[in-house]
């Protein structure tokens, strides 16, 4: 970093464009690899590639735009964004009641988006904003409020029902709380409390969600039903072997045995076609992105930015971890896309918006030093 700082060019771009180059390079690499995998997973559908490229362009533009906004503005905006997100969530919930069935989308006529996506950013921001004011160690009242901040939107999203997004939203906040310094003792208490409450949550879950967990334990109990996804995904990855079947040659994906192979299960396609070498490289890339983000968190000066950066980093890593764990059959099937790789727009824009904030935190740090 110090070495990099000495380069005038680097400093210039950093000030003019607010770009964290290592992070940007990693993200661009992931996005490019993602397009390659998607080309194969979509059976060489150029229209899907075109649409995904458009989304990536939009998402990266959002990232650049957000990176210009200095971190303290995010801090001020945190409560407002959180409340706005909450209102939209409730609006969607009410409309869902009227319209019957799952309702996640807010249709603005020209534009449809999921308010839960806002919450992926707003919850860590709000939690960080709230806990930043509190000094150490965090008392129980503050902890309780922080938990409320996290779990009110989480529960609404989980009831939509969108367990995957709910987990992502919660994790962003939970890691902020963890970082803010609740006593390790409290962490253990909460963990054991969750374990005790698990049967209660089990009862709250929808039948299909229960099915997914049972299926994870033994996919063969229903090979053509809920176990089908996991079995076919494991076959795809396992049959890839060390070097894979080669690009565009994955039989599981191309003959449609693999479900959702362009979206949630796209990692199986990578595993099938590029083998251990390719699939492990992807894990390594996700690890690098996460570590770079945590590095940014470590090097930022203010408490708020540190908390927020850590929350966003962990949210990103957890997304990748849950997705890959799910397709490899070690986590239940929850609808979590693989960041930057899975086909689809909403989640991607959110992730890159998060990276925009990360870059803002990273690049504006120098500016504060100068002042």
């Amino acid at each position: 970093m110090n070495h990099a700082n000495t380069q005038p060019m680097y400093r210039l771009t950093r000030r003019a464009l607010h770009i964290d180059w290592p992070l940007f390079g990693l993200l661009l690499l992931l996005a490019t690899l993602g397009l390659c995998i998607l080309y194969s997973a979509s059976n060489a559908s150029l229209s899907m590639i075109f649409r995904q490229t458009m989304r990536l362009t939009l998402a990266f533009s959002v990232m650049f735009a957000l990176s210009f906004i200095p971190p303290h503005k995010y801090k001020y905006a945190s409560p407002g964004l959180y409340v706005l997100g909450l209102i939209l969530l409730i609006a969607v919930m009410v409309m869902g009641k009227i319209g019957k069935g799952a309702q996640r989308w807010l249709d603005l006529g020209f534009f449809r988006f999921q308010p839960s996506e806002i919450m992926k950013l707003a919850v860590p921001m709000m939690t960080a904003w709230y806990l930043d004011k509190k000094s150490l160690p965090i008392d129980f009242k503050s902890l309780f409020i922080a938990v409320l901040i996290i779990f009110i939107p989480t529960l609404i999203i989980a009831r939509q029902p969108d367990l995957g997004t709910a987990i992502m939203v919660a994790s962003g906040g939970v890691f902020v709380v963890f970082l803010a310094g609740i006593a390790m003792r409290t962490v253990w208490w909460l963990a054991s409390g969750l374990a005790i409450l698990a049967p209660f949550f089990w009862n709250l879950m929808h039948d299909y969600q229960k099915q997914r967990i049972l299926t994870l334990i033994n996919p063969e109990r229903d090979p053509l039903g809920s176990g089908y996804h996991i079995i076919q995904s494991k076959i795809a990855i396992g049959s890839g072997g060390t070097f894979g079947k080669g690009w565009l040659s994955g039989s599981q994906a191309h003959l449609n045995f693999l479900p959702e192979h362009a979206t949630d299960f796209i990692y199986s396609v990578a595993g099938e076609e590029f083998g251990f070498i390719g699939a492990a490289s992807l894990i390594f890339l996700f690890l690098c992105v996460s570590l770079r983000c945590l590095y940014i968190a470590k090097n930022t000066q203010t408490s708020y930015t540190r908390l927020l950066a850590a929350g966003l980093s962990m949210s990103f890593f957890l997304s990748a971890f849950v997705n890959m764990g799910m397709v490899m059959g070690i986590l239940p099937v929850v609808g979590v896309p693989l960041p930057l790789i899975s086909y689809g727009g909403t989640a991607m824009v959110t992730f890159l918006a998060g990276f925009g904030i990360m870059m803002s935190i990273s690049s504006h740090r120098i500016l504060f030093n100068a002042l």
């Binding site: 963890f178 396992g238 060390t242 599981q252 894990i283 570590l291 408490s303």
Partner: protein, 616 residues
């Protein structure tokens, strides 16, 4: 424990954050390592298993139906074959505008009806989009040509040729050949489901049913790569099916046709057997039906017509029709008398036109009022004297009669290679007690001796017994198969099966009966005068008239006025030539006296074609 020093607080806070961030870094690395380990487990240690599963996923084995073996007669005339039937098929996935395509097809081929279109839409809903849906079945060759020239304008529409069973002889041999039809649920239970995986048709009756195993052949397979919906992506390897065996039957299509024509318009049956090996030359049941109707799936209306017709065209009279053998049984009864030594050639009785048992008032009448006068064996057979056989039956007793008839194969299955056959009946006291619950009377014996009463035989049984008679007791199992050729083109001869022969103590007895049967057609007073005497070949025969209902002589006078349904059946058995017998025949005509005329036509045909063979 609130700190008052914000600097220290800031420092402790930063230190804590650094510590916690380090924990998170560790957590992230551990989780990533965990994923890599899982990946290694799946792709290294489980590779073989998943690679196999992946292969199994995409490979599927599709069966290929074997071609059913054809059936020919002894002169290689085709009796059952597989002819291509052209159908118009549409793959919905490849058609852009279904509505206009169908309309254009309708203008191109006017034979397409709205029903076809409606049926197509119904089938289409139950079929996967990439699979062909039949649209118009049975295109004429002209229509095939018209469509072929316009095919470029109809993407997704194609002509599909399918082999369908067809029976060139139609009605003539339908009962003996049988027909194939779609496999039904019951049959599905009993077939080798592996071998029939691609087969839609199965032999339902006749030869088609009996030799189903040989005719069907062995299923072939192709290994194909498929996608998840079962669509074939490409063919990887193929194992050709083994066609069914070609069957050569003992039937003579010419003779079969002649017999059918001779019987046409009547209800009856005829069986012609080669006496030297039991092979069946003709086996006809009239009226008949067109077996081709059943192959394509007979319509409800057509089927109802066949089932409800009063003359029962579906009924195979030749092997399922049970008739009293009437006087045709007399030669066999006479043989029993000679063998049991209750009569000799010269034993004589006087026939006053009736017979009365001692102490019983009931009279058993002869068919001829006033009687035939003095009777010896030969004349008794020639004029078919009932009174002589009442005497003989009375002396023999039922068990001696039963014994002889059983030896000639009556009351049992002939074991012909047709599954529909039924055994008929030779009555005895035990049978009567069991089924009717009453004792056997001597009167029962008397009417059995003239082939009336409870005794029932099929035309095939009569022909077969006549064949045995001509061969002096040597008995063959009647059969229709002569040779079958397997898929390696290797012919296998059917070896005739000899049954336990009828053994007589004196060989002369055979000649006595043959001589008497010859005079049936030769003698002026012989009952076979309708057959005609002026044949190029020598014939031994016996006529029979089976009463449908018992009528007194007086009633018979009013014969003309009696409804046709109550007219007697006529029967005729014969073998020829007498010196070196070749064929035996049995003809039965219901409610009609023409059995001997019909037999004459059939036998003439046989000897005529033989003459042609010799000269050419």
């Amino acid at each position: 424990m609130r700190s008052n020093n914000p600097i220290i607080s800031h420092q402790t806070e930063t230190a804590l954050h650094q510590l916690r961030l380090n924990i998170l870094v560790t957590l992230v690395i551990i989780c990533s390592l965990f994923l890599v380990l899982r990946l290694a487990y799946l792709q290294f240690s489980q590779y073989k298993r998943f690679a196999t599963l992946s292969l199994q996923n995409q490979m599927s084995i599709t069966p290929i139906a074997p071609t059913r073996g054809i059936i020919v007669d002894r002169n290689n005339v085709v009796l059952a074959e597989n002819t291509p039937v052209y159908a118009l098929e549409i793959v919905p996935e490849h058609v852009e505008n279904m509505q206009s395509t169908l309309q254009q097809l309708k203008t191109l081929l006017p034979s397409i009806t709205d029903d076809d279109i409606e049926h197509f839409h119904r089938t289409r809903k139950q079929t996967r989009r990439y699979l062909p849906v039949p649209f118009k079945l049975k295109l004429s060759e002209e229509e095939v040509a018209i469509f072929a020239t316009h095919q470029y304008a109809f993407p997704g529409v194609s002509i599909h040729a399918q082999l369908m069973r067809s029976y060139p002889l139609g009605d003539i041999a339908s009962h003996v050949l049988g027909y194939v039809g779609r496999i039904n649920a019951d049959e599905l239970q009993n077939i080798d489901s592996t071998n029939y995986r691609a087969t839609h048709f199965i032999g339902k009756t006749g030869i088609e049913r009996f030799y189903e195993d040989k005719l069907h052949g062995r299923v072939g397979y192709q290994h194909v790569e498929t996608d998840v919906s079962g669509r074939t992506v490409r063919v990887l390897s193929k194992q050709a099916p083994a066609s069914g065996a070609k069957l050569k039957l003992t039937l003579d299509a010419r003779l079969q046709t002649r017999a059918y024509q001779a019987l046409q318009g009547k209800e009856g049956a005829a069986a012609v057997i080669d006496v030297r090996d039991g092979s069946i030359l003709a086996l006809v049941s009239v009226p008949s039906y067109d077996p081709n109707l059943f192959v394509h799936g007979i319509t409800q209306i057509d089927y109802a017509k066949l089932v409800n017709a009063p003359e029962k065209p579906l009924f195979n009279r030749s092997i399922r029709g049970l008739y009293p053998p009437a006087s045709t049984i007399k030669p066999f009864i006479a043989l029993a008398g000679l063998e049991k030594e209750v009569i000799t050639e010269d034993s004589k009785i006087y026939d006053p036109g009736w017979f009365r048992l001692p102490g019983v008032s009931h009279t058993y009448r002869d068919w001829k009022r006033g009687g035939h006068g003095t009777m010896r064996l030969k004349r008794a057979i020639t004029v078919s004297c009932d009174t002589y056989f009442y005497h003989l039956g009375n002396k023999l007793g039922i068990s001696a009669i039963e014994d002889m008839l059983i030896h000639f194969g009556f009351g049992q299955l002939t074991q012909v290679d047709l599954k529909e056959e039924i055994p008929g009946l030779v009555p005895n006291p035990q049978w009567k007690r069991q089924t009717r619950g009453v004792s056997w009377y001597t009167g029962d014996t008397l009417i059995t001796a003239i082939g009336q009463g409870s005794m029932l035989a099929t035309p095939l049984q009569l022909a077969n017994a006549t064949a045995s008679l001509s061969q002096h007791g040597q008995r063959f199992r009647p059969h229709l198969l002569q040779q079958w050729t397997d898929d390696q083109e290797k012919p296998h001869e059917f070896i005739p099966i000899e049954e336990y022969p009828v053994h007589l103590s004196n060989k002369k007895f055979w000649n006595l009966i043959t001589d008497a049967m010859q005079s049936v057609v030769k003698s002026k007073e012989g009952t076979g005068h309708r057959f005609g005497g002026n044949t190029d070949y020598s014939v031994a025969a016996k006529t029979g008239t089976a009463q449908v209902i018992a009528m007194s002589q007086d009633e018979k006078k009013r014969y003309q006025t009696v409804s046709a349904a109550f007219h007697d059946h006529s029967l005729f058995i014969a073998f020829a030539p007498v010196e070196t017998p070749e064929i035996a025949i049995a003809v039965l005509v219901e409610h009609n006296p023409t059995a001997s005329n019909i037999a004459r036509q059939i036998m003439d045909t046989y000897f005529e074609s033989k003459k042609h063979e010799v000269t050419s």
